[in-house]
């Protein structure tokens, strides 16, 4: 009886930008199967090129921190595409937002990465990348 065991799965999220209504959950993965009772043949590793989004919870947390830093009203629409500069953040605000994200997620952001973040989505993606490295 064939049983499929996904014996190795590797996920890595790739930093990317996407259109807001696109839900893509493709992850870069390699799968190998081994069947019991069948001559074991390995399928070639399948690799999918991935477009991937940071989890909504992460994006929401970033939005929360950004709204707090910039003292924006609760009902103000802030989403993944929102640019810090458009929201009124100056350079000091941006650094403080990054510091807030470091505290919230227990990560440490390199100066070079911190300088390249301009939108909520970029921040969320960077956070998830750093969390995976941990």
């Amino acid at each position: 009886m064939a049983s499929l065991t996904a014996s190795s799965l590797s996920f890595s999220s790739v930093s990317c930008s996407f259109k807001p209504n696109q839900v893509s959950n493709l992850r870069k993965a390699s799968l190998s199967f081994s069947g019991k009772g069948f001559p074991s043949h390995r399928m070639p590793a399948l690799r999918f090129r991935v477009a991937c989004a940071a989890k909504p919870e992460t994006v929401n947390k970033v939005v929360e921190i950004v709204k707090k830093q910039l003292a924006l009203p609760e009902d103000r629409d802030v989403n993944g595409e929102s640019k810090f500069a458009t929201l009124g953040a100056d350079s000091l605000d941006t650094v403080e937002i990054v510091m807030g994200l470091e505290e919230e997620f227990g990560i440490s952001v390199e100066e070079e990465s911190a300088q390249s973040i301009t939108t909520v989505q970029e921040a969320a993606d960077m956070i998830e990348k750093l969390l995976e490295k941990k």
Binding site: L92, M99, E111
Partner: protein, 398 residues
């Protein structure tokens, strides 16, 4: 608001200057400097010219003060005569560089020079890097007199204008002129530094000028100078202290004397701004917030010696490490001025004015927090030693 945009280059800085400094200059208060551009990196493709000093990258704004406010400064001239000019010292009572240097007319001249050089030998290279940077800054005095004379309402219209403001500017320049002269002669005699490289740096720097973003606006201008005079007072005070620690009491006296001039100048400029807060609290608090948002750029931030494209960053990293002038000092100066001008107690402000008031009052702790974070990271990083042409390419720890 009459705004003549005089953009010599439409480059917007990609990296906000509050970004944490790169590894090499991790200790420097780089984030407090105006952004600069090397001529190789324009949008229009140009071959990078050799020996290209940095240029200001922000759009240069002019005449941002509404012309009717010029009246305020005309009306202040009598007050300035009685309250500001009194902070000048009569020339007959002033020290001169010769007071602190070997006397060429004396038989003991050679011995005095020998002693000066012996003392200087005991002082480490990193101290000299900072002293040289300070001296170069002082020697760029033409730029600062120019800057004062760009200000509407207070400029010296003829070069010999009898207005109180013009008298102040010329006399201030005359007092400051002694600082560069004294440090120049000391460094020349010391034998510890490459005078030609230093002189080259000065020539580049005066050629570069600076735009502190004061926009011909005396509100912005006098807030800027208040900050700067206090910064130089702190800086020269620290070099004096360090000279004493290295056993050179004469050098300590030199730096200390310069520092006391700066203190007198700080008193004068802060008094002017205090008066402006009285006359026009809303306009002045808006100006204060504006200058702080733009960040107080250091006068010598465009310095270049023909070799090091990041000369100012490197110099200020050393100054930070030695504790001569640090990001902490920047926050302390801001906090001091907020207190000195009683910004917290201002009333009757417009909505914009209140926002400015909140911004300025809340800024010092934010800067300190940023600085703590940067310092925490700096400790973890490998900090390089780099050569300085001012000391014959000997290396110094940043």
């Amino acid at each position: 608001m009459a705004l003549k945009l005089n953009a010599s280059n439409f480059q917007y800085p990609k990296c906000a200057s509050f970004a944490l400094p790169p590894v090499a200059t991790i200790r420097s208060p780089k984030f407090f400097m105006a952004s600069t551009l090397r001529s190789g990196s324009k949008e229009v493709d140009t071959v990078k010219k050799p020996f290209s000093p940095p240029r200001e990258v922000h759009v240069q704004v002019t005449h941002s003060m509404p012309p009717q406010k010029i009246e305020i400064f005309k009306a202040m001239e009598d007050w300035a005569e009685n309250n500001i000019l009194v902070h000048l010292k009569p020339v007959e009572k002033c020290w001169q560089p010769q007071d602190f240097l070997p006397d060429p007319a004396s038989d003991g001249f050679y011995d005095q020079v020998k002693e000066l050089r012996e003392r200087a030998r005991e002082i480490p290279d990193d101290y000299f890097v900072v002293l040289v940077g300070d001296m170069i800054t002082e020697e760029a005095l033409p730029t600062y007199q120019t800057m004062l004379n760009t200000l509407d309402g207070v400029r010296d219209e003829t070069g010999a204008s009898p207005t109180s403001w013009a008298i102040w500017t010329r006399a201030w320049t005359a007092e400051e002129n002694r600082h560069g002269d004294l440090l120049n002669k000391y460094l020349y005699l010391s034998g510890r530094v490459d005078m030609k490289q230093i002189e080259k740096t000065i020539q580049y720097l005066i050629g570069s000028g600076m735009d502190p973003r004061t926009e011909n606006n005396p509100y912005l201008g006098f807030i800027y100078t208040s900050f700067q005079e206090r910064a130089t007072f702190i800086s020269h005070g620290n070099t004096a202290r360090l000279a004493r620690e290295h056993g050179d009491l004469k050098l300590a006296q030199i730096c200390g004397t310069i520092a006391s001039d700066e203190k007198r100048h700080e008193t004068a400029y802060t008094k002017i701004v205090e008066k402006l807060f009285e006359i026009d609290p809303d306009g002045t608090v808006l100006a204060f917030a504006d200058m702080m948002r733009k960040k107080i750029s250091m006068p010598a931030h465009l310095m270049y010696d023909g070799h090091d494209d990041n000369l100012f960053d490197h110099f200020s990293a050393v100054a930070q490490r030695l504790g001569v002038y640090t990001a902490r000092d920047y926050a302390d100066i801001l906090e001091h001025l907020v207190g000195r001008w009683k910004v917290e107690n201002l009333t009757g402000l417009s909505a914009e004015g209140q926002k400015a008031q909140d911004y300025v009052c809340g800024l010092p702790p934010r800067i300190r927090r940023l600085e703590e974070r940067a310092q925490g990271r700096a400790r973890a990083k490998e900090v390089p030693r780099i050569p300085f042409s001012w000391i014959y390419d000997r290396e110094v720890q940043l």
